[in-house]
C-alpha cells in the first residue's frame, strides 16, 4: 500500500482529495490530510457570506464525516513542521512523524501585510480565514457601541478587497476602500471599466480612494486613521488589509526544493517539484514563473497531480493557464477573459460604455478581425459564457464584431446558435463535459431530458451555471434529429398547460382522476396534480377544499408550511388598510395561540408557528372578527399594495388606497399559474412600488397609468406600460383581460414577467389583445373574469364550518397527542423554530 500525504486542507487540497477518491477504487492507497486551520476545508471564495449568516458550516466544502466515510485521515489544527526528503517522512508541530510515498503540498497562501508603520495596532486585521472574520466581527461590534457611525478602511481594491468592503458594509460600518493603483481590480479591469465599477459601488455606499500610498497608521494603541500624505488623512477606526497574497512556501524552503526568486515552489507541467515524489498545487505552485491566485487553475493542478500520482502520465497542465473569471461582486457582475488589456498593435478593441446603467463591455479582436482575443464585462455578464467559448475555441467572429456586445433590437446580443460551438468546447467546466459529449448523449444514447443527460454525463451537477446552455443544446440537437421538442407537463400528460386548460374548459372535466383517465396516463405526480388543481380553480372557481389531495402542499391545508412543520396564518388586509379594532383582535388571537408575528412585504400581518390542529380554531376566531383568508399559501392573488394616496398625502393625485382595496377584493381567491401581486401608487413618486408588481396602477394627471408584468424575486423586472391616463373602469377592464389571458396561456409556475418575455410579440401583442381585441376574445375574457369575481368564497370559512374538512387538521389519525418533535427557541421576545443543523 502506498501513502499519499496532503499538506494543507484548503479548497485546492480538498479538490485533490475529491478527485483522488473518485479515481482510486482499490485499497492500494492511503490518503492522509493535514490542515492548519481548526476546521475542514471551506469555500474561501465566498467568505463574505459568512458575515450574512455567520454559519461556518454552510461554507464547508464537505463535512468532517465525508473524509472518514471515504477512508481519508483528516487532521485539522495540525501544522506540518518539517519534511525529511531522504527518509520520505514529515514531522508535525506536535512532533508526530508520518512516512509518505507521495507528498502533495497545498499550503496555499497567507495575506501579504505591507511593511507600513503602525500595522501592529489594535483594529488592524487581515482578510483570509474564518478566524480573521470572527476577530473582525467582535471588534466591529464593540466599535459600534462606542461610535455607531464608525468608519472602516480596506487596504487593497482588488477582488478580495472589494469582497471585504461588502463585509464591512454588512457589519454596519462605513466602508472605505483604499487602493495604491489608479484603478480598481488592477489585474482584471482597464481604467474605464474600473470607473464604471467605481460609480456603481459608490452608488451603493462604498467610498473609494485610488492612487493612495499609505505612509503610516495613526493612533496610540488602537488605529484612529491612515496617513497618505502630509495633510491627507482618513479617519478610520478599523482597517482590513487585503493587499495581495504570499505563498506559504516555508516547507519548500526548509527542505531545499527549488524556489522562485520571489517565493513559490517551482513545478513542471506534471505539478512535480524538484523532488519527484513531492508535488505542489494551488497558490504555492510556481508554474511558468507565475503564481495563479484563482481557484479554477488550482483545481486543474489538483486533477493533474492526481493523475500523475496514479501514473496516468498523459494528463499535464496546459501551457497557457486560462485566467478568465466571472464573479458577482456585491451584486455587480464583473468578468474578464483572455487578454483583457491588449496593446493597440495586437488588435482592435470595441468598447460599449453606458454609465447611466453602470454598464461596460469591451472585446478585443485580432487585427484581421477574425479572432476574439479577450475582453471585460462590468454590470452585465450574461454574455460571458458565450464570449468565453468563442475565445477558447477560436471560433469565427461576425464581420461586425460589435454585434457580440451591442444590444440588438430583439433585446439580446447576437451570437449564432449554441450549435456553432466546436465539439471540443467545454460546456460544463465543473465536470469537464464537452459539447460533443452532450450531443452524443442525445444522438447516440437517446437521452432526451435534462434529468437523463445530467445523470449520464454529470453536466450541470456542479455549479449549475451551464444549465441554460445545456438545455439549448439538448433542444437544438433534438430538433436537428427531426424530433419535435414538445412542452409537456410531466410523464403523465403529453400536453402543455395551455392545451390542458382548453381541454378542461371544452370538455367540462371537473375531476382529476377523470382528466387523468381520459387525457393522461399512469397515476399522476406532484407536478401534474397541482397544475390540474390550478386549472380547475381558474375555470370553475372551486376552492382547494374540494379535491384536497391534488393540491400543492400549502393549499391542501390552506396554510404555508414552515421550517419545522408548523404553519403560518395570514388574513387578508385589503390594500393594507387595517383598523385599530382589527389590529387588537389579531394581536389578541396571536397572543392566545403564542404565534410569532411579523409585518409582511405585502402590507399585512403574518402569524407563524401554528400547529396543524390549531389552524381551524385560529381561523374560527379570525373569521368571527370579520377576517377572511389571505390566500398567502396559494398560487393566486397575494396583495395589492398601496401608498396612502390623496386621502392624506399632500402630493396624492388620486385615492390609491380606495382603489387598491377595490382591486384586491376583486381579484382575491383567483388561482393562477403562479402567485401574482398588485400595487397602486397615488403619484409618480411610486411609494407602493407598483412597477415591481405583476400589475400596477400609478395615478397621473388625467387618470391611471397601468403597468404589467413586473416582479421582485430572484430576477427583478420593472413592469411595462400597458395604457396611459385611463379611468377606474377602463383600468379594471384592461387588467381583467390581461390576467385572464395570462392565466390561460402561461406555463406552470411561470410568473407574468417570464410569460411576457416568452410571448411572441411581447407587450405590443398584449396591448393588441387587451385593448384592440385583435383575437376577438375580449368579451369572453371579461365574462370569465366576472364569473370568478362573482363566485368568490372564503375557503377557510368553508373549512371551519364543515366537520368533514375540519377532520384533517390533526397530526395523528389515531391519537389526540401533538407532534412532540416540534421545538421552539426564543427570539427577541417571540419564538422561532429550532435551527436546522
Amino acid at each position: 500500500m502506498k501513502t499519499v500525504i496532503v499538506v494543507g486542507n484548503g479548497m485546492v487540497g480538498y479538490k485533490f482529495c475529491e478527485k483522488f477518491i473518485a479515481k482510486v477504487k482499490s485499497k492500494n492507497y492511503k490518503l492522509i490530510v493535514f490542515g492548519e486551520e481548526p476546521r475542514p476545508a471551506y469555500d474561501r471564495v465566498h467568505l463574505s457570506e459568512f458575515f450574512e449568516n455567520q454559519d461556518a458550516k454552510a461554507l464547508e466544502m464537505a463535512p468532517a464525516e465525508w473524509y472518514a466515510e471515504n477512508g481519508i485521515d483528516l487532521m485539522v489544527g495540525e501544522r506540518v513542521a518539517d519534511i525529511n526528503r531522504k527518509y520520505k517522512k514529515i514531522t508535525t508541530a506536535s512532533n508526530q512523524e508520518y512516512r509518505y510515498d507521495y507528498l502533495v503540498l497545498a499550503t496555499g497562501s497567507s495575506a501579504f501585510v505591507p511593511p507600513i508603520k503602525g500595522v501592529e495596532k489594535e483594529g488592524v486585521f487581515v482578510y483570509r480565514t474564518i478566524e480573521d472574520l470572527e476577530g473582525m466581527l467582535a471588534y466591529a461590534a464593540e466599535l459600534k457601541i462606542r461610535n455607531p457611525k464608525a468608519k472602516a478602511a480596506i487596504l487593497g481594491g482588488g477582488l478580495l478587497g472589494l469582497e471585504a468592503g461588502k463585509a464591512v458594509m454588512d457589519m454596519g460600518l462605513e466602508p472605505h476602500v483604499v487602493e495604491f493603483a489608479p484603478k480598481l481590480m488592477p489585474r482584471q479591469l482597464d481604467a474605464r471599466s474600473s470607473q464604471v465599477l467605481q460609480l456603481k459601488l459608490e452608488s451603493i455606499g462604498l467610498h473609494i480612494h485610488l492612487s493612495k500610498a499609505t505612509n503610516q497608521i495613526l493612533g496610540d494603541k488602537a488605529i484612529t486613521g491612515m496617513e497618505f500624505g502630509e495633510d491627507d488623512v482618513l479617519d478610520v477606526e478599523m482597517l482590513i488589509i487585503s493587499a495581495g497574497i504570499r505563498p506559504r512556501d516555508e516547507l519548500g524552503k526548509s527542505s531545499g526544493l527549488e524556489m522562485g526568486v520571489r517565493g513559490g515552489i517551482v513545478v513542471n507541467n506534471k505539478m512535480q517539484t524538484s523532488d519527484e515524489s513531492i508535488y505542489a498545487i494551488g497558490e504555492i505552485a510556481l508554474y511558468h514563473q507565475m503564481i495563479y491566485g484563482l481557484v479554477a487553475p488550482g483545481y486543474e493542478m489538483a486533477t493533474v497531480a492526481v493523475d500523475q500520482i496514479l501514473e496516468n502520465s498523459e494528463t499535464v497542465m496546459v501551457d497557457e493557464v486560462d485566467m478568465s473569471t466571472k464573479l458577482k461582486l456585491i451584486g455587480v457582475d464583473v468578468a474578464s477573459f483572455g487578454e483583457p488589456f491588449m496593446p493597440a498593435s495586437k488588435g482592435h478593441s470595441i468598447i460599449f460604455e453606458n454609465k447611466t446603467q453602470y454598464l461596460y463591455k469591451r472585446i478585443n479582436v485580432s487585427l484581421d478581425g477574425k479572432k476574439l482575443l479577450g475582453g471585460i464585462l462590468v454590470g452585465d455578464a450574461t454574455d460571458y459564457h458565450m464570449l468565453h467559448q468563442i475565445y477558447l475555441n477560436g471560433m469565427p467572429v461576425p464581420e461586425d464584431p460589435s454585434q457580440l456586445i451591442l444590444p440588438t433590437s430583439e433585446g439580446g446580443a447576437s451570437f449564432g446558435s449554441v450549435m456553432d460551438l466546436p465539439d471540443t468546447a467545454v460546456v460544463c467546466s465543473c465536470e469537464a463535459v464537452t459539447k460533443g459529449q452532450l450531443c452524443c448523449a442525445v444522438k447516440d444514447d437517446g437521452y432526451e431530458t435534462m434529468k437523463d443527460i445530467a445523470k449520464a454525463t454529470k453536466a450541470t451537477t456542479g455549479c449549475g451555471g451551464c444549465k441554460p446552455m445545456v438545455t439549448d443544446l439538448i433542444n437544438e440537437t433534438l430538433k436537428s434529429l427531426g424530433k419535435v421538442v414538445k412542452e409537456r407537463i410531466c410523464e403523465h400528460f403529453e400536453y402543455s398547460r395551455q392545451e390542458l386548460y382548453d381541454i378542461v374548459k371544452m370538455k367540462h372535466i371537473q375531476d382529476y382522476d377523470e382528466l387523468l383517465d381520459t387525457h393522461g396516463n399512469g397515476n399522476g405526480c406532484e407536478i401534474c396534480k397541482p397544475v390540474a388543481a390550478s386549472i380547475f380553480a381558474s375555470i370553475f372557481n372551486e376552492t382547494a377544499n374540494k379535491q384536497d389531495t391534488i393540491q400543492d402542499s400549502n393549499d391542501r391545508f390552506l396554510a404555508n408550511i414552515q421550517r419545522n412543520g408548523t404553519y403560518s396564518v395570514v388574513p387578508r388586509v385589503a390594500g393594507g388598510e387595517i383598523s385599530p379594532k382589527q389590529m387588537i383582535a389579531m394581536g389578541r388571537i396571536a397572543q392566545k395561540y403564542d404565534l410569532y408575528t411579523k409585518i409582511t412585504g405585502g402590507q399585512r400581518i403574518d402569524m407563524f408557528g401554528a400547529k396543524l390542529h390549531e389552524l381551524p380554531f385560529i381561523w374560527e376566531e379570525l373569521i368571527a372578527e370579520g377576517f377572511e383568508t389571505g390566500q398567502a399559501y396559494g398560487k393566486s392573488l397575494r396583495t395589492v399594495k398601496s401608498c396612502v394616496g390623496s386621502t392624506w398625502c399632500r402630493y396624492g393625485m388620486d385615492e390609491s388606497v380606495s382603489f387598491a382595496i377595490a382591486i384586491e377584493n376583486r381579484y382575491k381567491g383567483i388561482r393562477s399559474p403562479h402567485k401574482f401581486k398588485g400595487g397602486v401608487s397615488g403619484c409618480i413618486r411610486e411609494c407602493a412600488e407598483a412597477r415591481g408588481k405583476d400589475f400596477g396602477f400609478i395615478a397621473v394627471e388625467g387618470g391611471w397609468n397601468i403597468y404589467i408584468c413586473g416582479n421582485g424575486g430572484a430576477n427583478p423586472k420593472h413592469a411595462v406600460l400597458l395604457a396611459e391616463k385611463v379611468d377606474n373602469e377602463t383600468a379594471i377592464k384592461y387588467v381583467d383581460r390581461f390576467l385572464m389571458y395570462y392565466i390561460q396561456t402561461a406555463q406552470p409556475l411561470m410568473r407574468t414577467a417570464t410569460w411576457l418575455e416568452k410571448l411572441e410579440g411581447g407587450i405590443d401583442y398584449v396591448k393588441n389583445v387587451v385593448i384592440n381585441d385583435c383575437l376577438g376574445i375580449a368579451d369572453q375574457l371579461d365574462k370569465e373574469m366576472q364569473f370568478l369575481v362573482d363566485t368568490y368564497k372564503c375557503e377557510w370559512k368553508e373549512a371551519v364550518e364543515n366537520p368533514e374538512i375540519r377532520a384533517k387538521y390533526t397530526h395523528f389519525v389515531n391519537s389526540e397527542e401533538e407532534d412532540e418533535n416540534i421545538e421552539f427557541v426564543s427570539l427577541r421576545d417571540q419564538k422561532m423554530p429550532t435551527p436546522w443543523v
Binding site: N523, C525, E526, T549, R556, I561, G565
Partner: protein, 126 residues
C-alpha cells in the same frame, strides 16, 4: 437529539413482522392521500393509493431536514414507481423501497401494511 430518531426507523420486511398494529379505520385516510399514525414513539405515514387500490406505510420523518411531515405530502408515480413528495422541499421517495428518487438522500424506512375489516394494520418487528 433528533439524529437518534432517524435510527428508530428501519425498513421491516413482511416476514419479519411480529406485531400487526391496528392503526385506524380506512375512512380516516383521505383518498389518494396520506395521514400520520402514532405507534409507541414512532410516527408512521400511511398512504391510501386509491387509484391503484394499494396502501403504503413509511416513516413520517423526512431525512433531509428531519421534520415529521411526509404524511402531508403528495403521492404520485415516477415511471411506474409509487412515490411520496415531501411537502417541504419536494424530495421524492419510493413508497416501495424507500429510495430517494430525485437526489442522494438516505432511503426512508418502509413498513408492511394490510387492510382487514375496514381497518388499517401496520407491521412492526418490535
Amino acid at each position: 437529539m433528533i439524529d437518534s430518531i432517524l435510527k428508530e426507523y428501519n425498513t421491516t420486511a413482511l416476514e419479519e413482522v411480529t406485531v400487526w398494529f391496528k392503526a385506524a379505520e380506512i375512512s380516516k385516510f383521505p383518498k389518494n392521500g396520506g395521514a400520520c399514525v402514532k405507534y409507541k414513539e414512532k410516527q408512521i405515514a400511511v398512504f391510501n393509493f386509491t387509484r391503484q387500490g394499494k396502501w403504503y406505510a413509511c416513516q413520517n420523518l423526512c431525512p433531509h431536514k428531519l421534520e415529521m411531515v411526509l404524511s402531508r405530502g403528495m403521492i404520485g408515480e415516477d415511471v411506474g414507481i409509487p412515490k411520496i413528495a415531501c411537502p417541504l422541499h419536494k424530495n421524492t421517495f419510493s413508497l416501495e423501497t424507500g429510495e430517494n428518487l430525485n437526489g442522494t438522500l438516505p432511503a426512508i424506512a418502509t413498513y408492511p401494511i394490510k387492510v382487514e375489516d375496514d381497518f388499517v394494520y401496520i407491521g412492526f418487528s418490535e
